[in-house]
Amino acid sequence: MKIKLFLLITGFLTVFSVSSAIAEGSKLVLTGSSTVAPLALEIAKRFEKGNPGIRVDVQTGGSSRGINDARKGLADIGMVSRALKPEESDLTPYTVAMDGIGIIVHKSNPVQKLSDEQIISIYTGAVENWKEVGGTDSPITVVNKAEGRSTLELFLHHFSLKNSDIKADVVIGDNQQGIKTVSGNPGSIGYVSIGTAEYEERHGTPIRLLPMEGVPATVDNVRDGKFPLSRQLNLVVKGTPSPLANAFIDFAQSKDVHDLIEAQFFVPLESE
């Protein structure tokens, strides 16, 4: 009985190991940012479909891992969800998409704009009523993102806040939940991915995106890099990319993947 089982397992392992005959030159490895990873995975699947015999493996681990692995040659392409820093100039970035975050309030809220200081005061609990920032006399419901969300990181980074500084009334997970919370609570304020919010606003959900530093929160302004609360989603390579890596990057920057980028609530670079 035991021997049979052992033979079964060994046989199984052997069969499985032998059948892995993928040539070296036809495999591409991407590692890095967990924000970019789901998008890269979808792009990879479409790329594989169009190029039979090619395999693209997407691994995650964070932007710094993407940079490290691309540098050391552990990955063909690194994924980085921010602009490269000056000390990372040994790598070449290829921007695939932009991610922007906008402040949203309920459509019935008369407040048309908030300064950065006002937003900070609201989120740290210094201001608790809309009348203090030019609105009606009603309490503010602060909607914050849950720990681990990249939008939270970007938001905190932009306003130089720590998550422990924030006095949140509601903590939410994804963009959709943020939009539902704000549209259902006239006194609330939240922040979500601009792509999602614009789509919802256009489709009649009672929310309004507020401008930041005078820049309207639109996908176009995110695309042009004018909107302050945004970041690039990059693929990075060291030196000259291999022909295969090059083909993949070209594909990831082409219009063929714009629907995939939008499905992940990011902003494609060129307009359609």
């Binding site: 009985m1 035991k2 089982l5 397992i9 199984f12 392992l13 499985f16 190991s17 032998v18 059948s19 892995s20 993928i22 490895v29 967990s34 924000t35 990873a37 789901p38 998008l39 995975l41 979808e42 699947k45 493996d57 997407v58 691994q59 995650t60 681990g61 552990l74 681990g148 969300r149 990249s150 997970g173 994804d174 963009n175 959709q176 991915s193 999602t196 499905a263 992940q264 609530f265």
Partner: protein
């Protein structure tokens, strides 16, 4: 009176633990069932896991577990037998082995993940693969499994060993026919603990078996484990929560199935031995 308070506290503790389990299970059932369907179990993930299914993820999880169990069971039993039956003479070696195992059992899984990534994936060149992931999990299972199995072996009444040698059985057949079968419940318990810990593992696997959600073609392919899939859907993918709950439900079913299989296999294998012996 104090007796009443005492039994009240005892009952409340039991009820509380039961309630926590039911709450978790209820939450997952409530949010997971609407998304769960046969096609969810049999299709490829699409749109970063929001739609489509989890079939390749289930297959990868099963393969990773198989590698882990196939490696850790023979190894672990060997070490446990050595610790319980052979190590009287080398007492120092045994106690330092036990200490090592106890320390290893308490090491956070992310440490195993980083070790697995550095050793199996990079140093041994196994890359991001189901094999790397399974071996990393085996390292993680081993300490708990060995210590439980050893405790089971040590708990076997000493007169059984004496009886075996009085009957002229040599050490090998005494271990094989008497000690291992009578320690079977403890061995299975250790295995179940190990499998449970391994199946729920994210940190040890995300850097070893990886993130690729394609159907694995071989053990050298990267394959996404269920726990990694759930983590990604709930933490990283906007609108992935319902798929995450359905995957969590599947994960619980997988753990229960594996436990039952382990139980049945050990019963069969070791039960026969007891009858024959």
């Amino acid at each position: 009176m104090s007796d009443r308070i005492f039994s009240f506290v005892i009952w409340m503790s039991a009820a509380f633990v039961g309630a926590v389990f039911l709450w978790i299970l209820g939450d997952i059932l409530l949010k997971g069932i609407p998304h769960l369907s046969l096609s969810f179990l049999l299709e490829q993930p699409e749109d970063a896991g929001r739609s489509g299914g989890i079939f390749p993820v289930i297959v990868s999880t099963a393969l990773i577990l198989m590698v882990a169990v196939a490696v850790s069971v023979p190894f672990g039993l060997g070490v446990a037998v050595w610790l319980a039956e052979f190590s009287q003479t080398g007492r120092k070696a045994a106690s330092s082995t036990r200490l090592t195992l106890d320390v290893l059992a308490g090491v956070p899984s992310i440490v195993y993940g980083l070790f697995g990534n550095a050793f199996f994936s990079i140093f041994l060149g196994l890359g991001f693969s189901i094999f790397s992931g399974g071996l990393t999990l085996a390292c993680m299972i081993l300490p708990v499994f060995i210590r439980t199995a050893e405790a089971g072996l040590s708990a076997v009444n000493h007169s059984w060993r004496e009886g075996a040698s009085a009957l002229g059985m040599n050490k090998t057949s005494a271990i094989w026919h008497i000690l291992l079968p009578s320690a079977a419940p403890a061995i299975v318990a250790g295995l179940i603990l190990g499998i449970g810990r391994a199946t729920a593992e994210t940190a040890a696997l995300i850097f070893t078996s990886g993130y690729v959600d394609r159907m694995p073609g071989s053990l050298m392919d990267s394959g996404r484990a269920l726990a990694v899939h759930i983590y990604d859907l709930s933490m990283n993918v906007t609108g992935g929560d319902s798929a995450a709950y359905a995957s969590a439900l599947t994960l619980i079913a997988v753990i229960i199935t594996f436990n039952m299989m382990a139980q049945a296999m050990t019963d069969q294998w070791l039960g026969k031995k007891v009858q024959r012996a």
